[in-house]
Amino acid sequence: MGESTPDSSPRQLATDARDRVRFEEEALELSDQVYQVARRLAGSREEAEDLVQETYARAFRAWRSFQPGTNLRAWLFRILTNLNIDRGRKIQRTPDTQPLEENDYFLYNRLEESTGDGTPDERKVVERLSQNEAVTALADLPHDFRDVVLLVDLADFTYSDAAQILDIPIGTVMSRLHRGRRMLKRSLAETAVEGGG
């Protein structure tokens, strides 16, 4: 059908304006969350700010294509991740050559071993990790993996929302998520063990 001819009766115009205002307000309420993910997608704060601004500019222009009652947050993040790709993010080939033998208890086991403290409190073990290293480790993840980890672990999207946002099958979301999390842990384990000993 394409776009229907806008009805320009005063009543229609008023309804339109009201819908648009509501849309814009709801979208702006999500801006903190959009920024959090954008900041981790972009290399610098400035780039992140540009990315968020572009996301909102595009969202506000395209507001009619958002279907009320559907997931606005997912819709915004889809714009964000698409723009991030458009802005020249390099398409990286998934480096599946690196074997990841570690299982899911690996990080805890490594940290526990290196504390030399029997079975320490879980919180104490986490304290051995460095905040800066977490930022670096996340930034260093191959982008395909990082996108999924950010959407699920930072933005709390379900597997199925993440699949829709990134336009990939849900099985791919799951495998990238699991692998991405393990890569993150491996690089954190390395730095924590080096730093603490």
């Binding site: 801006s31 920024y35 959090q36 900041r39 506000f60 899911d104 986490v126 990790l129």
Partner: protein, 79 residues
């Protein structure tokens, strides 16, 4: 009896991510919780995983610059 075909801790380990992501089936969830009740080894590692997720979330969080908020508001369509 659990009926685990292999080491129950190994199975519990494999269920950790989906358990914390809340995507296990009801049956699997019950199975994991049953094992966790009796196994401090796995319980510790599950708790660590929760702490770890929280740690990553906080470690990488950065407040949004207030000026950006203002700039976004300025992008709104004028009434």
């Amino acid at each position: 009896m659990s009926g685990f075909a292999w080491d129950p801790c190994e199975k519990c380990e494999k269920m950790m991510q989906p358990y914390l992501d809340r995507v296990l089936t009801e049956e699997e969830r019950v199975e994991a919780e049953e094992h966790l009740r009796g196994c401090s080894y796995c319980r510790k590692r599950y708790r660590f995983e929760e702490e770890f997720r929280q740690f990553v979330r906080l470690a990488v969080a950065e407040p949004m610059p207030p000026e950006l908020k203002a700039r976004l508001a300025a992008l709104r369509t004028p009434l």
